[in-house]
């Protein structure tokens, strides 16, 4: 939304990360192949924000070039620097290009600017944004001698201090429109004007970010914590500091996501968390990338545990695995969508045994009808089966051998024996409904091998429905 307006193309998928980095004012590392315009990204943004900007070529520059000449003035031995147009003292945003090529002698100055906003102990009060770029580490593994420049990996301790680590888009990441637009207007032609919308957006989120740092959302904290544990278990080392950094990044991203004003805010919270996670891990700097499938699997597991909305995906699976009384409970869960429940019920109807199906439907149909739990399609299936159970008219068939002493179907005989043993006799409701279920199953060629188990399940389901009915009536009264 904002980046396109200031003439930056191709960064659509990373726009929220970039905005989050602008909100947090923490250093960001951009990795990319040569010619991806990574070094100019902050230049364009600085122009839009009205900030003074300086690009420092980390491999070529010297300490003096950055600081200006140090001189001692006055009697108190205070060192001041004679600033030049090239010095970085009063700049508000800095980019250190190709930081992996930095000479060791300069590294201490650059790292103190990046991570402490100071040079030789003198604070840089105006400095806000410190970003750095480096070449894609994929290139390092090719022919090292082909590169004239000194390609070295950054030290892990240094990389740990970057908040976000993003990869600059390549040609494939540009959309067709962006490519065409780029060729017409020249790629990434900056709009040399202040962008008041962007300024307002960033300045609105900064105080909110400071607030949330003190009291982060529990779900974000839990996500950062658990993801770190799982990644470490999965063999990808994530330090404690990195885990805390992940939380800070997620807070900023969450804020950007919440206050996003564009029309195309189709991302869900899950997408934002995954974006934050992928762009916080440092492994991609060292060419030991964590497999994407591992990150996806861990992310998905976390989302299932932390966010109910994501659980819906597996709600049907949980419903299918649950016992009959638990199924009734789940159907009366008001937080679940009616259509999802209906889908789960239809799935159960088509993929369950006739005994389970009949038991659930016989016990729960009236209450499901009363509270309109299911949609019309599922309700129609339910009622059709319920009608068949209530009105049985059929034959219980069996074969009988000549000379056999027993007369009658042995399985039906077992059922009758069990029915007689029920408390309350033949006039009790428990007897009547068990009898009804038994004859429904027997006339549908289902042999009831364990009538006790079937009847007790039916009774449990009726008890469960009775409890729900009582609870709902009480709720209505209240």
């Amino acid at each position: 939304m904002f980046l396109k307006n200031i003439g930056v193309l191709g960064f659509d998928s990373l726009e929220k990360v970039i905005l989050a980095a602008l909100v947090t004012e923490e250093p960001m590392l951009i990795i990319g192949r040569p010619g991806t315009d990574k070094a100019n990204l902050l230049a364009y943004i600085s122009q839009a924000l009205g900030l003074s900007f300086k690009k420092v070529n980390a491999g070529m520059t010297s300490k003096l070039e950055m600081t200006g000449m140090p001189v001692i003035r006055g009697n108190d031995d205070k060192v001041t620097f004679i600033s030049t147009p090239g010095s970085v003292w009063k700049k508000q945003s800095l980019v250190f290009d190709l930081i992996n090529e930095t000479k060791p002698i300069c590294m201490s100055v650059i790292s103190s600017i990046l991570f402490e906003k100071q040079i030789n102990g003198y604070p840089m009060e105006t400095l806000q944004y410190r970003w750095a770029t480096m070449e894609n580490t994929d290139l390092f593994n090719t022919d090292m001698t082909a590169f004239k420049r000194r390609n070295i990996y950054l030290e892990e301790e240094l990389v740990e201090n970057f908040a976000f680590i993003i990869e600059a888009p390549t040609w494939d990441n540009y959309s067709v429109e962006e490519k065409l637009e780029g060729f017409i207007s020249g790629f990434t032609q900056p709009v040399k004007e202040l962008n008041n919308d962007l300024i307002a957006f960033i300045s609105k989120l900064k105080p909110l970010y400071e607030e949330q740092l003190l009291f982060p959302k529990p779900q974000l904290a839990a996500y950062a914590c658990l993801v770190t544990s799982l990644l470490n278990e999965g063999g990808a080392y994530v330090s404690v500091q990195r885990s805390l950094q992940l939380l800070r990044n997620l807070i900023a991203l969450d804020l950007v996501h919440e206050h996003w004003q564009g029309e195309e805010n189709n991302d869900k919270i899950g997408d934002i968390l995954l974006l934050g996670l992928k762009n916080t891990l440092i492994q991609k700097v060292f060419h030991e990338k964590i497999p994407d499938r591992l990150i996806q699997a861990i992310h998905r597991k976390m989302m299932q545990q932390l966010f109910n909305k994501e659980q819906e995906k597996d709600w049907i699976g949980i419903f299918m695995r649950a016992g009959l009384t638990a199924k009734i409970d789940m159907l009366f869960d008001d937080s679940v969508d009616k259509n999802l429940k209906s889908l789960a019920f239809i799935h159960f109807f088509n993929h369950s045994t006739i005994t389970d199906r009949a038991t659930l439907i016989f016990s729960a149909q009236p209450i499901l009808q009363q509270f309109e739990i299911l949609n019309d399609e599922a309700f129609n299936l339910l009622t059709k089966c319920f009608k068949d159970i209530l009105h049985v008219d059929g034959k219980i068939e069996w074969l009988e051998f000549t000379g056999s002493m027993k007369k009658g179907n042995p399985i039906w005989f077992n059922c009758q024996e069990y029915l007689i043993s029920l408390p309350g006799g033949q006039t009790s409701k428990r007897y009547k409904r068990a009898y009804q279920l038994f004859i429904y199953l027997m006339t549908n060629e289902k042999l009831i091998m364990d009538p006790g188990y079937v009847e007790m399940t039916l009774n449990d389901c009726f008890e469960k429905c009775l409890m729900i009915l009582k609870y709902r009536k009480q709720e209505k009264c209240i």
Binding site: Q365, P366, I367, Q369, Q370, E372, F379, N380, T383, K384, F386, K387, I389, L390, H391, V392, D393, G394, K395, I396, E397, W398, L399, E400, F401, T402, G403, G408, N409, W412, P423, G424, T427, S428, K429, R430, K432, R433, Y435, Q436, I439, M442, T443, F462, C465, L466, L469, K470, K473
Partner: protein, 152 residues
């Protein structure tokens, strides 16, 4: 022995004779006795082109202006019911047609799906729906689940 009946008997004596027990039961705890049950059916004594036209002509005869008014005047069931085909069919004899009864039956039949009736369901005047003889049954929850502690 070539007697086919003997061979059949021999086969059955080895594998068993088919037997069957006929069972029939209706489980409606609050079943209303037959004479008081309401059957919904439709038969016209006059020729007509479509069901809708015929229904509207009857409604106009009654001095009503719309379907909603007719529904309100006739006191149709206001809750969801289970639709059951009547087992005891009533002969289609109209002696002195009660037009209100015909309107009510037409409205209920058109509003009933295969298995359930809902007062807000759209009316569909199809042959399949109109040529039925049905009863509406409603399960009373207290009775079905024994909520008020009636014995067992």
């Amino acid at each position: 022995m070539t007697n086919i009946f003997y061979r059949d008997w021999l086969y059955k004596s080895q594998h068993g004779f088919p037997k069957s027990l006929h069972v029939s039961n209706v489980y409606f705890p609050d079943e209303v006795p037959l004479p008081d049950r309401v059957n919904y059916y439709f038969r016209s004594s006059e020729p007509f082109s479509t069901y809708e036209e015929y229904l509207f002509s009857l409604i106009v005869n009654q001095g009503w202006h719309s379907l909603e008014e007719a529904k309100a005047m006739l006191g149709l069931p206001r809750e969801r019911h289970i639709v059951v085909d009547s087992k005891e069919k009533i002969g289609y004899s109209f002696s002195g047609i009660n037009e209100k009864l015909v309107i009510r039956n037409m409205l209920v039949l058109a509003g009933c799906g295969e298995n359930s009736y809902h007062p807000e369901q759209p009316l569909i005047f199809s042959d399949k729906r109109m040529n039925r003889q049905i009863e509406l049954k409603r399960i009373h929850l207290n009775e079905f689940y024994d909520l008020e502690g009636t014995k067992n």
